[in-house]
């Protein structure tokens, strides 16, 4: 468990990616030091429209300059407010929070499954693996979206040198179909390779990946979302139901859970 920091930072860089997708870089933030792939930060957005903080996965860090980057898509009140921030605006950050992805074993293939804005923590994770010496050719980067405009940061993925498998519902980029169909084909036809899956994305996608993992006996991890009043484990609001019974806090025991662990 990382030791979180609660401090103000500034919006240092702002990129409007496709459509409603944005990349924001905040700094200087002391918590960057301990950030790991899977961790998230909790952002304070003072406005009459939102009261809780909003959780955002860290997608890259610059430890030297103590900067961290998030990627988000405008979908509701909180993200609309965030999209109106301007360069140099101060922002309250709490983080890094939550647990992180665990490394694949040496002989394993890492099958990364990103759906929509599930991309940010997985991009961080893939880069982290590659930078740590994991063979990029052993990383399959499945990335699904509704249409071409949902597949962001393609240049970044290319640079990683991983095996990129984009798919869109309407076929406007990559293969046509649901990303989990692509994953299932790979698992079915993959022969006796040892695979570990890492998934983040919409609930339906995570449920499908969980099912696939259980069906093909492939281990792996899912990064979950839940509305988070506190993000640090004290409110008991962000719970998910465990298969073995009982609840777990997404912000504290998660956001990364093992395949088969959570009742989705």
């Amino acid at each position: 468990m990382t030791k979180p920091v609660c401090a103000d930072a500034f919006l240092i860089r702002q990129r409007n990616l496709k459509n409603d997708y944005y990349s924001y870089t905040f700094g200087p933030f002391p918590g960057v030091e301990q950030c790991r792939p899977g961790n998230f930060v909790h952002l304070r957005l003072p406005s009459s429209d939102v009261y809780f903080r909003r959780a955002m996965s860290v997608t890259s860090v610059d430890k030297k300059n103590r900067e961290l980057e998030i990627l988000f898509r405008v979908v509701g009140r909180g993200t609309s407010i965030l999209a109106r921030y301007q360069k140099n605006d101060p922002i309250g950050i709490l983080g890094p929070l939550g647990n992180s992805f665990s490394k694949p074993r040496k002989k394993e293939i890492a099958a990364i499954v990103a759906g929509g804005v599930g991309f940010p923590p997985l991009a961080y994770f893939a880069e982290h693996l590659v930078n740590g010496g994991f063979d990029p050719k052993r990383i399959l980067f499945f990335y699904g979206g509704k249409s071409a405009s949902d597949i962001i940061e393609r240049g970044r993925i290319k640079k990683m040198g991983v095996r990129f498998h984009p798919m869109t519902d309407d076929g406007s980029f990559g293969r046509k179909g649901l990303i989990t169909q692509g994953v299932e084909e790979f698992l079915r036809d993959g022969g006796n390779q040892r695979v570990r899956m890492y998934a983040c994305g919409p609930e339906a996608m995570l449920r499908a990946v969980d099912d696939l993992g259980l069906k093909y006996r492939v281990p792996g991890e899912l990064s979950l979302e839940a509305p988070m009043p506190c993000g640090i484990g004290v409110c008991l609001g962000c719970i998910v139901t465990l298969r073995k019974g009982g609840y777990a806090r997404v912000c504290h025991e998660g956001p990364v859970f093992k395949i088969g662990e959570v009742l989705l």
Binding site: V5, C6, Y51, P229, C230, I232, G233, V234, G237, H252
Partner: protein, 305 residues
């Protein structure tokens, strides 16, 4: 002049009047990762019940205008695991510990007080007489003065440390339950617990909480809390701990002025976990500006019209 924030309540000395509220700071472990708990006047535990409770199924929290709804359902580790797993940690903290307890029957309250009030690290016990989020127990204890009096009286008989009665705001006249708790022998009163509230998802037509209703807390309810604390301070001779919507040091000053001896910070911890530190600093600054040396000099100094 160095402002003195120490307060003494029912014989217990607190470093400052800023406490966390029950259910908003767990058992202290998580907050201690952000700052030393010695910065707090006291740490309140989540309500402890005789048996462990998982609480209600998710979703059990929701955002509202300047506040939130919750129906956690008293999820807690139960008294056995509390003593086994949480007390060792709490024992090491250099802050006062107040254990909040809840039962379904008067006997359960009594048993909990008996088991917990003798622990060396427990400075006070707070009776949760008004959690709106459980079917049995909880609210009926707090809305009926006779039940309040009886619960407090029986708990007090076994309690080896000062006893706080925490009152529910969901009543016609909170001074009636306050006087009943005083009559029953409470050493301190704390208020308010959460207001009963509800919200519905207009897309799914379902309540936003699986428990259908929940407790409304946060800055939204501060004026209600302040009015009730004011009323209770005028109705009883006990020290009162003010709770409800406190977000900054100004809010604390308001509660002190109407007569609270200390305050608890609840929902604000979720959005600003370091609020107690900021509040303590703000209070010190305020006292300097106003030339007030003792924080207790603010208590009850409101100048009513």
């Amino acid at each position: 002049m160095k402002p003195d924030l120490k307060v003494t309540i029912a014989g217990v000395d607190f470093a400052n009047p800023i406490m966390t509220a029950s259910g908003c700071s767990g058992y202290g472990e998580e907050l201690s990762g952000l700052y030393p708990l010695s910065k707090l006047g006291a740490l309140l535990t989540k309500t402890i019940t005789p048996e462990p409770r998982e609480g209600h199924p998710p979703p059990r929290t929701a955002e509202t205008a300047s506040g939130m709804l919750n129906a956690i359902g008293l999820a807690n580790v139960g008294v056995d695991r509390f003593i086994e797993e949480k007390v060792p940690f709490l024992r090491k903290q250099k802050t006062k510990i107040i254990v909040n307890v809840g039962g379904r029957t008067v006997d359960e309250y009594v048993t909990l007080c008996d088991r917990l009030s003798g622990l060396d690290c427990v400075d006070m016990i707070e009776l949760n007489l008004g959690c709106p989020n459980v079917d049995e127990g909880g609210m009926q204890f707090g809305s009926d003065p006779a039940m309040t009096e009886r619960t407090v009286r029986e708990a007090k008989q076994v309690c080896r440390c000062p006893l706080i009665a925490k009152l529910t705001p969901n009543v016609t006249d909170i001074t009636a339950t306050a006087r009943a708790a005083e009559q029953g022998g409470a050493d301190v009163l704390s208020l308010i617990n959460s207001l009963v509230g509800m919200a519905v998802d207009v897309q799914t037509w379902r309540p936003v909480l699986t428990y259908n209703r929940g407790g409304l807390t946060g800055p939204a309810i501060k004026p209600v809390a302040l009015a009730q604390v004011d009323a209770v301070c005028n109705a009883v001779n006990l020290p009162v701990i003010g709770i409800g919507g406190i977000a900054d040091f100004r809010d604390v000053v308001e509660f002190l002025l109407v007569g609270a001896s200390a305050v608890q910070i609840g929902t604000t911890l979720f959005v600003e976990p370091d609020a107690p530190l900021k509040i303590v600093n703000g209070l010190k600054q305020y006292m300097k500006e106003k030339n007030i040396s003792q924080v207790s000099d603010l208590v009850g100094r409101v100048r009513k019209y």
